[in-house]
Point group: none
Chain length 216, copies 4
């Protein structure tokens, strides 16, 4: 009891980058769990081993911290998307992979889905540096567009469906499964965390998206 194990404790004199990162990690969890107003700075502090003071030292205020984890949340999914290498797949396969990866990512990162939901509750008021966000996010749409373009030139995809529309459909379907799983379970008794349900949904969503694109 006397000798503190030093193992978990980031204590003092540690490098600030790690401390910052550590705060962000815990804060993401807490904000995702409780929302912006529901989250308690004290809980974040308690969950790691720092004082609340440190949080204010690094992030100024609660909202500053929130903005930081919001940015981080978007960075995560963008990172995933950037390593897909869809250009080597034929259009239909590429599109399937994009859908499946998106679904899997949101399934494995419900905190991302929750944070985005929370930010929408706040009318996206904290997404200020939109310029950088926009640029990075348009990359996703570009990726979709590239697949569509190939599909169109190969004569398999329709020409009257836009990339952003497809992106919206994919997002909506994958997002909803995670964001609304609780009320859906309560109301319809369907457990969307069930792997079999997941697999079935994956198939359905892929088919739906492909169905929107291919010329029958």
């Amino acid at each position: 009891m006397k000798k503190k194990t030093a193992a978990k404790t980031p204590k003092r004199r540690n490098d600030p980058v790690a401390t910052r990162e550590n705060i962000l990690e815990v804060a993401m969890e807490v904000f995702a769990e409780s929302g912006l107003s529901g989250a308690r700075v004290s809980e974040i502090a308690r969950k790691m081993r720092t004082s609340q003071r440190m949080i204010y030292y690094y992030f100024g205020d609660k909202e500053g911290l929130y903005r930081a984890i919001l940015e981080r949340a978007y960075a995560g999914i963008r990172q995933m998307e950037s390593v897909l290498e869809l250009e080597n797949l034929e259009p239909v396969a590429a599109m399937r992979k994009l859908v499946e990866t998106t679904l899997d990512y949101e399934e494995r990162h419900p905190e991302f889905v929750r944070i985005v939901g929370i930010e929408n509750l706040h009318q996206a008021r904290h997404m200020t540096d939109v310029s950088s966000l926009r640029k990075q996010n348009n990359a996703v749409v570009k990726r979709v567009e590239e697949i569509l373009e190939r599909g169109r030139s190969e004569g398999v995809f329709r020409k009257d469906v836009q990339a952003l529309e497809i992106h919206m459909v994919i997002s909506a379907l994958c997002f909803f499964r995670v964001s609304n799983r609780y009320t859906f379970k309560a109301v319809f008794g369907l457990d969307m965390t069930d792997p079999q349900v997941n697999a079935r949904h994956k198939k359905i969503i892929c088919d739906a998206v492909i169905g929107m694109l291919v010329i029958r």
Copy 2:
């Protein structure tokens, strides 16, 4: 509609039913705007013309009030669904009408979408009397099922797609347009409140759903 005439000044000595209703109306607005933890009892009191005390008098505590508006929110959409009269339309037309009505309803009632989103952030912890909820909500799925059944027996719809799956797809697509409009606007610059966008989305979503069902 009749009782609303004196609504602006519920002052004192009004009938309790109206007062209760009045509180619910304002509370819905405030909860939808700010979430459960973000909403302030004081703000609700201020927005109508009663004291906070009245709210406690009628609803016990903040969560009691929240539960009441949650119930009210679901009652609203259910009411809409119950008057659809889809059985007189041929399957494809019926399905289109269901989609369009759903989209329109959520477009016109963003507070419903927001409340459901909020309740999901709270893991549907406040949907207690699930039994009644389930029964009522299964009505929607029943309605979809009825359309599917007719379509199948007419040989136009596939047999391997389930009613609940179709409901989920419709819900997801209509819901997302409202729930995520803020981040979507921030990130992609697309204004989902634009009537032209709305019309376009309505068509796309209808086509997607029909595309999932018809045998090509």
Copy 3:
């Protein structure tokens, strides 16, 4: 010890006007002593027998309380001025009385002097409802003007000195004696609270003001 004497304690269920007044009284003292930023809400609460919470209940925030005592401070001196009945005295006597009363008031109400000093430190940022202030304060200048007018028409006062200028001179001399007494004492060893010094100053200031006015 069990039965609280109820004597000093304004406890609960007391009339709000008295509570409010009580807070103001103590707050005036504390703000005058320590300034706006130096004053502690907790100290004010401790000095009476309420909780800090009550202060926020009545005045919103620290600045709200400060604004209230600022107003009160000005109301005090205005009250004094309004009961002078200078119109029954001949001009020179009236002017002497005005000077003496002003000097005495500020001598007996150093908290007024300090509050005004503090507000000047804050660039009078908290004197918002200037309209009411102006009206009330112009009464002082009116009073001076009235004396001057009589003196002029009697041929004893000069015509080229304005009422506001005289008011400024009186204010400056009386105010300074109180506001700067500490540094003056430290630097020159003169104790301005000494009654003899007070008397001497009263004479000097009266003479100086009269000297500015009379035609020699």
Copy 4:
């Protein structure tokens, strides 16, 4: 004047004297603006380009820094007074010059006036080494005394007015114009920074002081 050229970027490795001086300059500004308790060590640090740590390094604590700028403030006006060369002017002219110079100095150095005001709010608690202060400040009174003496021996000045009294009157009138300009503006609408007002006040104050002295 020479050493100020590189003043804007005192960055690192600069000579300690300059750094100290730089801190003092900024601190004077900040303390004059916000008072002792209102001033923030962090703001002072931010306004120059050092860390707060440096301030503690040089001045020990916030009060130490405050004491230093207080001393500096008095040194400034004393410096001004010491170069007046009043002895070559005839008594009345000398007195006029003294008044005018005082008024101009305080007009041009409101931070001096504010610091003195602040120190009075703190009951001159920080003027510790009074001995040196007294000696230096008595020089002003000596100067007044010298003028009075000459005036008296020339038969133009009264014998019953003391030098310290005259000093107080001059101080009060010049000081008030700066110290109370904000509330005066708010209450009477008179802008004491207006050059025309300044000129008029200069005349009035001179006349008043001379009026106190001359035998009519």
